[in-house]
């Protein structure tokens, strides 16, 4: 029986992007549905009654929520192709640790870059420090996963699609501060699973301007 996979998503969402990349890495066919977050549809509310958020993966009628959990689920179900987590428990723990760090720290700091007035310098500095830490973790490896694109790479790439937006909004440049990360991001973008999962930069920037208006920020 063929698998039925539906992804409830919102195209600019970094969390949604992670799932798209994972599905593409596994070569999976699925139905993509863009949700209107101001007018949430009945399926979203039924499939994620607790958080009412995207992304939600619906696999043969069963919903899985929370992007990191979805990516791990995808990796465990379709384990024979392009494994995202390594097989060794210690390396798996390290991958989970960094994915957690990205979700907790980078996400929060990214929001501070454009939502807080008067704290821009501080926010920029902290964000760069965060990226430098990740750059240190990458070291000389082609990917965070080592020779192969892996779990941490999936989790971090979506932030890089937003980085273009942040650089303009917060007036700073990553290339000078974290050149290795830029090289890594370019390497990842050469993968079809990544390039087809991330939105066009200009489209994202236009969305960002809308978002600022909604939040009442000039």
């Amino acid at each position: 029986m063929a698998d039925e996979i539906i992804l409830l998503d919102f195209w600019p969402s970094m969390f949604g992007m992670k799932v798209r990349i994972a599905l593409a890495e596994k070569g999976l066919k699925y139905e993509y549905r863009d949700e209107d977050l101001f007018n949430k549809g009945p399926l979203l509310l039924e499939m994620n009654p607790i958080h009412k958020k995207i992304p939600v993966l619906i696999h043969n009628g069963k919903p899985i929520c929370e992007s990191q959990i979805i990516v791990q689920y995808i990796d465990e179900v379709w384990k024979d192709k392009s494994p995202l987590l390594p097989s060794d428990p210690y390396h798996r723990a390290q991958a989970r640790f960094w994915a957690d760090y990205i979700d907790k720290k980078l996400h929060l700091l990214g929001q501070r870059l454009w939502r807080t007035k008067g704290e821009e310098q501080e926010a920029n500095k902290e964000y760069i420090e965060c990226l430098k830490l990740l750059e240190g973790e990458l070291g000389d490896k082609p990917y965070f996963g080592g020779e192969n694109f892996g779990f941490v790479d999936v989790n971090l790439m979506p932030y890089f699609s937003w980085l273009y937006v942040f650089e303009i909004a917060a007036n700073f440049s990553i290339e000078a501060e974290c050149p290795k990360l830029i090289t890594w991001a370019k390497r990842c973008m050469e993968k079809e699973s990544v390039s087809t999962s991330l939105p066009d930069r200009q489209k994202l920037y236009d969305f960002f301007l809308q978002l600022k208006k909604w939040h009442g920020i000039e």
């Binding site: 929520c65 929370e66 689920y73 428990p89 723990a93 390290q94 989970r96 640790f97």
Partner: protein
Amino acid sequence: MAEELKLFRTWSSVFALRIVWALKIKGVEYETIFEDLSNKSPSLLQYNPVHKKVPVLVHNGKPIAESLVILEYIDETWRETPLLPEDPYERAMARFWAKFGDDKVLTSIFWGVFLKEGKEQEEAMVEAMEHLQFLEDELKGKTFFGGERIGFVDLALGWLANMISIFEEVAGLKMVDEDKFPLLAAWMQEFADSPIIKDNWPPRDKLIAKFQALRDAKLAAAASK
């Protein structure tokens, strides 16, 4: 080669207790290093340079940090008495509830209800009750969140079984009413009385003193703004 296993913890950290419980369930021996967070040891800073927090598990010299990450590592390294289910969907559900516990339940109960007062506390209470209702519903037909025996979600939510009564006493209000949440109240009792768990609770009087001081300090700081 003999295994070398060390756990860095504090006497009261609920996150570290998860690891104590997990290692007990797996029947694994280890050395405990108690940390004073106001005076962190060079070892802790070396093993967890990113967050500088407990718990940290060090296995044959290699450190793992973040309690839920550590739990999964323990489950994958010592395969008897599994904490997570085998089926990928059930595993995803377990991870979901553990995350819900940390992101939502802990936030609304500790940061919202316990550390606040007045209107802010009332609002946080409404949220906390919603979160507890989700947990109540999840327990239908089960003794533990893990089913017949203690599992990953029970360890993740286990702090409720002890800390709720501490918070209730210090803050002077009821959070888990047995009439409103009969399954949750029963689970809290069942969990707290389990042989693996009950010998490991930190001393109650010390916890009361610590959290009383914490609440007083927080409320004083908020009032002086």
